[in-house]
């Protein structure tokens, strides 16, 4: 599959995911967020375990380390974001965390991973960060 098709699929899947996640609040299930998230990760973990078992490859230390990095990143990000909403209004927390992450990842991509970003790309990232800030506020 081409990059554009994969990104379109990832965009639509991630958006659908947020629609389903948003239903948690709409159905007044906010108190059960940790339980919902546990189901999310448990299902992903079971499907992942089946895939790993079927592939039959030896476990790579780097895969464990990077998987742990992603897992801790997602869980820590979510829990600290929620903790922040207790102390600050959501219209500050969500734009700052979502837009901020976007800028930090772009800066690391540009200066650490040495990715080339053209003027249209830079303008797109800035517009994207502003869009997320406005939509999340």
């Amino acid at each position: 599959m081409t990059y554009r098709r994969l990104m379109t699929a990832a965009f639509l899947l991630n958006g659908s995911l947020m629609v389903v996640t948003g239903a948690v609040g709409k159905l007044n299930l906010g108190a059960y967020i940790p339980a919902v998230l546990f189901c999310v990760y448990a299902v992903g973990g079971v499907i992942g375990a089946v895939c790993v078992y079927r592939a039959g490859k030896a476990i790579q230390p780097w895969s464990v380390a990077i998987g742990a990095m992603g897992g801790i990143g997602t869980a820590a990000g979510l829990s600290t974001q929620m903790a922040a909403t207790v102390m600050l209004p959501g219209y500050i927390v969500f734009p700052v965390t979502s837009g901020g992450t976007l800028i930090v990842v772009a800066l690391i991509g540009r200066f650490v991973l040495k990715e080339h970003i053209g003027p249209y790309g830079i303008a797109g990232i800035v517009a994207g960060a502003c869009a997320i800030g406005l939509l999340g506020s």
Partner: protein, 141 residues
């Protein structure tokens, strides 16, 4: 303290974003990375839930979690493949712009009235996608 939590959240999400690119650079097995991501996240969330005293949940919460879990798994796998073909800086931006979908859905499904900020956000999302599309085309992605 709230701002400190925001900084930690930004750092943690950035670590998640970079893990996609590093797994490609290190040529890791994507299934294994995915499995360990869900395993570690699941253990952390389990500890969090138990610390809050949550030992059960209504059926609707479990169904939502299961549906979400299946979508997350496919989404992570697809994005890993995309990030391997393109740049994480622009790919991560496009992925995060999908925030526009739940906002549109809340208007369509829950009859919420979008604010002027939301309209500006819709317009900027469109502009950002067009600009990133032009940039991707110029860099041969």
């Amino acid at each position: 303290m709230g701002y400190v939590y925001c900084i930690i959240a930004v750092t943690a999400y950035a670590v998640l974003g970079l893990s996609y690119k590093i797994s490609d650079v290190k040529k890791c097995d994507q299934s294994q990375v995915n499995f360990f991501l869900f395993l570690f996240a699941g253990v952390i969330v389990l500890i969090w839930g138990l610390a809050k005293g949550i030992t059960s949940a209504p059926g609707a919460a479990i169904i939502l979690g299961v549906v979400d879990g299946a979508i997350v798994f496919v989404s992570v796998l697809v994005f890993r493949r995309a990030a391997a073909l393109g740049r994480i800086s622009t790919s991560w931006t496009i992925l995060n712009l999908s925030l526009v979908i739940p906002v549109i859905a809340s208007v369509a499904l829950w009859r919420e009235i979008p604010s002027a900020r939301h309209y500006a956000g819709f317009a900027l999302t469109l502009i950002a996608i067009i600009l990133l599309g032009i940039d991707a085309g110029r860099s041969g992605e």
